[in-house]
Homo-oligomer: 166 residues x 2
């Protein structure tokens, strides 16, 4: 196998992982785009998280990739307390659905732009929650692994959103 | 970058994709292992699929990987009609929970055994639903892509199972 071939294999697999992320991301976008704003205040199942919470929750979780990938600060740190650190709470004063949708779109565009510019070496480098010393022993703790985990995170919640009836 | 390094990168990423599969698989296993049999007859949300259906559904979907990967026939083709081709139907005569759990365990062991013996070239080769001619033009239609998609499939349903209350 030539070096050319093996480099292509690595790039191919990385592009497949990014495509899986983008596909799941689009599933969530499509769901939210077809719902009227009032639907967001319904829980996905009786007594469970409301759709508006899940939208903010997925934004906050995905937004973490920016600092984790050394790409700057999170865009929306103000969402962490209410959407990531705590469960859905009816007393929380939430942003409007329109604001959250705008954040969702802006974040996705920002992440897609960064992902398009990252090469294989960058994807396979450490993220900021693992020290260089630990990373030397555990090379799977790279940025690509974070993307795989975030893909599964949003996919699990997309499965819950799919249960809603309108 | 030496050839040694690039081959290692490819193997590393493939192992990460397999690990993500295994982790999501374990989430489903852990869920089912802690529920009493009668819980399987409850829907994950009012009017939605029952847990017993989702267990059979995920088995049938994952089982497809055996023929798709040229690893032989599916273990449980008898599940396809009731669990994959049709939605949950209360009139379906289903296998017992004990039988389904045994199939789940056997299938996971079988798949894990095969995955452990597949090298990078095999993961990046075509699956059986794409022709050699189409694969030459679309090299991302490989076995690893099927595994990524099956991981997301079971993750979405795991998210739904997590909504159940007991």
């Amino acid at each position: 196998m030539s070096e050319q071939t093996t480099i292509t294999s690595t790039d191919l697999i990385i592009s497949q992982v990014i495509s899986a992320w983008a596909a799941q991301n689009k599933t969530v976008t499509d769901f939210f785009n077809k719902q009227p704003d009032e639907a967001y205040l319904q829980p996905v199942a009786p007594g469970r998280n409301r759709a508006i919470y899940l939208l903010g929750h997925i934004i906050a979780a995905n937004d973490m990739m920016l600092p984790m990938f050394f790409l700057g600060d999170s865009l929306y740190p103000e969402l962490v307390a209410d959407f990531l650190d705590t469960p859905d709470n009816p007393d929380t004063v939430m942003p409007s659905v329109a604001e959250l949708k705008e954040k969702w779109t802006t974040l996705n565009t920002t992440l897609a732009g960064h992902f398009a510019n990252m090469d294989a070496a960058s994807w396979l480098a450490r993220h900021n929650r693992v020290s260089p010393e630990d990373f030397a022993k555990e090379p799977h703790r790279n940025k690509l692994n974070v993307l795989i985990n975030r893909t599964n995170h949003q996919t699990g919640h997309a499965g819950q959103l799919a249960l809603m009836r309108f």
